[in-house]
Amino acid sequence: MSLILEKIDHVVNGATHIDNVSLELAPGSFNVLLGRTLAGKTTLMRLMAGLERPTHGRILMNGHDVTGVPVRKRNVSMVYQQFINYPSLTVYENIASPLRLAGVEAREIDRRVRETAEMLHMEALLERYPQELSGGQQQRTAMGRALVKDAEVILFDEPLVNLDYKLREEFREELRELFKTRKAIAVYATTEPNEALALGGHTALLHEGKLLQYGRTEDVYHRPQNILSAEMFSEPPINVLPGMVSGSEVTFDRRVHFSLTDDLKRLAPGQYQFGVRASHITLGPQSPDDLGLPVSVDLAEISGSETFLHVHNDLFDLVVHLAGVHEFAVDQEITVYLPPHKMYAFDREGAVVHIPPHLEGA
């Protein structure tokens, strides 16, 4: 089963929500739709489901054109951000509902409901009602309804947003496991780059209704095609430093120089934007090539066992992602080190011209 979107446009009241998106999702693939709020993730999913009809373009399912086919005639299922279940039905009946509506035989229903419940660790809760369950259990019930019917496409629209941190990690792992053996195409929308990385599979980057990049998740992460992809697919966003290449040197704002290492020498002279991930900047030099920048601290943001250190000098603002808890005083003067061999370079238009050599073609 494959799902192909061909040059899809979706225009609502003159506003373009989806702009010329073409996408080919392979059978059995797990796909992450990554994009900020209002990027068009939900709209794209609604189009895939058949809840909306694209303004232009075609949607093909296993080679058949299903563009105008309404959702009732397709075999899809969807899990929402809100926990959507039938309030007056038990967990058992909720999970059974798609099968009952499809007219499946009673014994078969029972077998599949119990199988699905077991998969989701809900066996003990089958006789409960949704309002008697915790948020996580309600969402499991909703997933049960989506998984039980062997849909060709299963859509997850930010399903874990309303759950707490621990539960989200648990769910993600289970989801990956569940889909290893399934033939259905899974599409999972999220705003969080880290969630996309944790889920793996393939990732489609969506920005303001346009598809920026699609490919294996690691590929999209390591080899962004442009600066927007790089910014969107890192948390905190990748640091961007405008610099001038002349001869064998890079100059940042005419004052900070560093020599081009072997692989950056290929860059033609001119203006570039250098990207360096927050997690690649260090507090001590890791190699003799590292570029030391004296900066002062704005804020050390401690999140769990990580520290996001916001620093600046008179040229740039940088974010440094450090493992462990580090405390800094505001305005404390420190030196941070940027590794040239881990830098990306983008041209003026933002297209990538240099990818760190250890990632290239990996």
Binding site: S77, M78, Y80, S88, E93
Partner: protein, 294 residues
């Protein structure tokens, strides 16, 4: 460590107690006071104990009025609740049509009770009333002053016209509160319209329906002005409800003792029925095993 208890805080509820005393307890006690005495004039009164209560409970006219009252309240609930839900379901959801329909539906709610009675009184007249005249022209001998059935049907129809909008409005707001995702999920499940109503909309409406039914029950149980203006309780006593019996007794005949006893009984009946009703529905909600079909 011992907690220091400061009992002065009790003084803080004093204003509230005073307020409740003046608004509820003192007026109610006056009624209680009358109900256990036989009052001849301001200086002559006798203590009668429970006598008035016994007399009232055994009065066949009042028993008949009570039965009529229950029949009326149950009839209008049976019509107004399904009708209100139905109207709420077909009301437009957005745009200017929604505002327009909302105003049109609300209109009857804004008309005072006795005006409603007058409107229907004229509406049903055989000579100049549109409905009265129309029905007669169609060959039906419609007459609310002679036929109890006509009078009954008209009062029920009047109440339905006046108060169904309340149920419709409550349900409309309840329906608007259901997230769009529920309907989408149902479409993905290929659920029928009926299934959407039965398993999404109706369960989600339970709360507003409880409020609506309670309000309508209490309201209709106390109905006075409309039948008083429309039929005056007739023909005979066929549309004499409890509140009208009470007014006749208290104001018309100045029977203070019996009417006080009757007021208390009336009050307790409303309280009891509302309580039973509320508890039953709330219990049903807490114990959802009674909600599903299976």
């Amino acid at each position: 460590m011992n907690k220091v208890r400061n009992n002065h805080a009790w003084w803080l509820i004093l204003p509230m107690l005073l307020l409740v005393a003046f608004s509820a307890i003192i007026p109610l006690m006056t009624v209680v006071n009358y109900s256990v005495q036989d009052v001849f004039d301001p200086y002559t009164r006798f203590f009668t104990g429970t006598e008035w209560f016994q007399v009232m409970l055994n009065d066949p006219a009042l028993q008949a009025a009570l039965l009529r009252q229950f029949a009326f309240s149950l009839t209008i609930l049976a019509i107004e609740v399904p009708l209100g839900i139905g109207i709420a379901l077909i009301m437009p959801k957005q745009g200017w049509q929604a505002s327009a329909v909302l105003i049109l539906v609300t209109l009857p709610l804004l008309i005072p009770w006795n005006v409603v009675g007058s409107i229907w009184q004229i509406f049903t007249r055989g000579d100049i009333g549109l409905m009265g005249w129309g029905l007669r022209e169609l060959g039906y001998g419609y007459n609310i002053t002679r036929s109890p059935a006509d009078a009954w049907a008209t009062i029920v129809l009047m109440d339905v016209w006046h108060w169904t909008p309340l149920i419709a409005l409550l349900c409309y707001s309840g329906l608007r509160a259901i997230p769009e995702a529920y309907y989408q999920a149902a479409r993905i499940d290929r659920a029928s319209k009926w299934a959407v109503f039965r398993f999404i909309q109706l369960p989600k409406l339970t709360n507003v329906l409880v409020i609506g039914i309670l309000l309508r029950f209490m309201h209709s149980f106390m109905i006075y002005a409309e039948p008083f203006v429309l039929t005056g309780g007739g023909p005979g006593s066929s549309t004499t409800f409890l509140s009208q019996s009470l007014t006749t007794m208290a104001i018309g005949q100045q029977d203070l003792g019996p009417s006080a006893a009757f007021s208390l009984i009336y009050f307790l009946i409303i309280l009891l029925v509302s309580w039973v009703f509320y508890t039953a529905i709330m219990h049903r909600q807490k114990d959802p095993t009674t909600q599903g079909e299976r």
